[in-house]
């Protein structure tokens, strides 16, 4: 395992650990988070600190509550009546679960990248401009400037600059996923929630997304759900391992992957490699 880890991670372990500890000020804090769906206890007493400007990877077997956890953060759980959420989630020390604050304002603080890209049924340009327009920006030059900036940020500008008015559905799946990332970044979030964003992509597109994440973490806090252990090892600055709705282990990847404390994580790592 450790050989694999060192092979995959480009940075030496020591340097990485130092960076992590330095930036461990949490941007997101969850306290006693419970989610029930009818009789199922989907999330059970989740307490978690998400460090700022780092990639936090959520690992765990299917159905362990990772996606639900992401949906709690941007309050998409509101869409499902059967989901009952209790506990507290703080973003920069402000509770977003028990607040009367406008939900769209809270959601704008984070960009969501789902398993399958869902570009809006609009042109490429309008997809990125959508969120900016929602904020009331109407100035065409400013819109064009922002669209270009965010498409460049995800490395898509060169590929689409001559066909910005074409439907987003014409793009390949990998390009669509990057478009969705650009669209999310355009609303100027502080957090990026990525739910297995590369699971439907080919290796080349996955690499581009991964590289983008590596760049983006300078300015954003990224929470990444993945089923690929290799991807987790390559990208994680902080790892949270979940099983059956609870957090089993969490910590720095070097420690977690090399010296798993629980049998559950050991088994998971063994099966994953």
């Amino acid at each position: 395992m450790s050989i694999l880890l060192q092979e995959i991670r480009k940075q030496p372990i020591e340097t990485s650990s130092i960076t992590v500890t330095k930036n461990l000020t949490p941007v997101l804090r969850m306290e006693n988070l419970h989610v029930y769906a009818d009789h199922l206890h989907i999330l059970n007493d989740v307490n978690l600190l998400i460090p700022r400007n780092q990639i936090t990877v959520l690992l765990g077997p299917s159905g362990c509550g990772k996606t639900t956890l992401l949906k709690c953060i941007n309050k998409l759980t509101d869409l499902y009546k059967e989901l009952k959420v209790s506990g507290r989630i703080f973003i920069d020390d402000k509770d977003i679960l028990n607040t009367s604050k406008n939900v769209p304002d809270i959601r704008r603080k984070m960009g969501l990248l789902s398993q399958r890209p869902y570009p809006l049924p609009l042109s490429i340009f309008k997809n990125v401009a959508y969120g900016i327009k929602l904020k009331g920006v109407r100035d065409k030059k400013l819109l064009a400037f922002n669209v270009e900036k965010h498409l460049r940020e995800v490395g898509l500008w060169e590929e689409v600059k001559n066909r910005l008015n074409e439907p987003a559905s014409c793009l390949s799946i990998g390009q669509q996923q990057r478009l969705c990332l650009a669209r999310g970044l355009a609303v100027k979030p502080t957090i990026i929630l990525a739910d297995e964003p590369t699971s439907a992509l080919d290796p080349k597109s996955s690499n581009i997304i991964e590289r983008s994440f590596g760049e983006l973490k300078k300015n954003y806090t990224i929470i990444l759900v993945t089923h690929s252990l290799r991807q987790a090892m390559r990208m994680a600055d902080y790892v949270v391992f979940m099983s059956e709705g609870s957090i089993v282990e969490q910590g720095l990847p070097e420690i977690l992957f090399n010296r798993p404390e629980t049998a559950q994580l050991r088994d998971y790592l063994k099966e994953g490699c």
Partner: protein, 284 residues
């Protein structure tokens, strides 16, 4: 075993193909008969003139009053159904998505309304007219027919909206849009083809229904210029002409049927072309 499978495959393929082509054949046959029987009576007069004295006994004139009346009633009713039905279907899918039971109850009620025969709507419209002291008029016809087509509008559009993946709605909400913005900017855009289909179905049903307008819109040889005047409709014109003992007038009934079918065909085709242009950006 291998032969049995092959035979099975071939058998079902032939049966399905036969059924499909039989259906098309029926459509072609119906249009063919109407065309064959009506083409001889079709003239500029019938299209562009209103009935003159003794028209139903073989006198001069045409069915322009019914063509215009039908277009007025169908357009008016479809318009009302559209402005009520579109927000209703969006509400059902965007705001009520959390409340499955309420959603299902509303769908069930709308399906029941859809199933009610049009003569019942006609009777209801007639009763309401008497209650309000109204006469048979264009307005009464439009309102009654709009009630008839409203469930068709909502349910057809709703069926399309309900097939839109939840992820698309989540994506829009996650960008910070409100439910209203999501409904009108994203769901309506994605479901636009379904919306056009719904409008089309409504128009087809509205222009072709005789029973609901019989007592409510009445019948007149004049083209209505006000909403409180009675209006003729093509289905009733066909009915009156077809019940005539004079063969010449019966031929005119087929010509009127041909006009009605052509109107529906033209509107179907143009709506399809229109919706195809609008759904190019749709996510598939």
């Amino acid at each position: 075993m291998k032969y049995r499978k092959r035979f099975e495959e071939l058998f079902f393929k032939i049966i399905s193909a036969l059924m499909t082509y039989a259906l098309i054949a029926v459509l072609v046959f119906i249009i063919g008969v109407i065309f064959y029987k009506g083409i001889s009576a079709l003239s500029w007069d019938i299209l562009l003139k209103t009935p003159k004295g003794g028209y139903y006994y073989g006198g001069e004139g045409g069915v322009l009053n019914a063509i215009i009346g039908s277009l007025y009633i169908a357009s008016g009713a479809t318009f009302i159904a559209m402005i009520i039905g579109m927000p209703a279907a969006l509400y059902l899918n965007v705001y009520l998505m959390r409340y499955k039971r309420t959603q299902n109850t509303i769908r069930f009620l709308l399906d029941t309304l859809w199933g009610i025969p049009s003569i019942v709507y006609g009777a209801f419209g007639f009763a309401m007219m008497l209650f309000l002291g109204m006469n048979a008029s264009l307005l009464a016809g439009i309102i009654t027919v709009s009630l008839l087509v409203l469930p068709i509008m909502v349910r057809t559009f709703d069926e399309i909206l309900s097939t839109i993946p939840k992820g698309l709605m989540e994506a829009s909400l996650a960008l910070g849009s409100t439910r209203c913005e999501t409904a009108y900017k994203i769901m309506l855009k994605q479901g636009f083809q379904g919306f056009i289909t719904a409008v089309l179905l409504c128009f087809g049903r509205a222009i072709g229904d005789a029973a609901s307008v019989l007592f409510t819109a009445g019948y007149s040889d004049q083209i209505p210029v006000n909403l409180d005047e009675p209006a003729a409709t093509l289905p009733l014109a066909i009915f009156f002409q077809l019940s005539s003992p004079i063969p010449e007038v019966r031929e005119r009934a087929f010509a009127s049927a041909l006009i009605l079918t052509t109107i529906i065909l033209v509107i179907s085709l143009s709506a399809r072309l229109f919706s195809m242009r609008f759904s190019q950006t749709n996510i598939r």
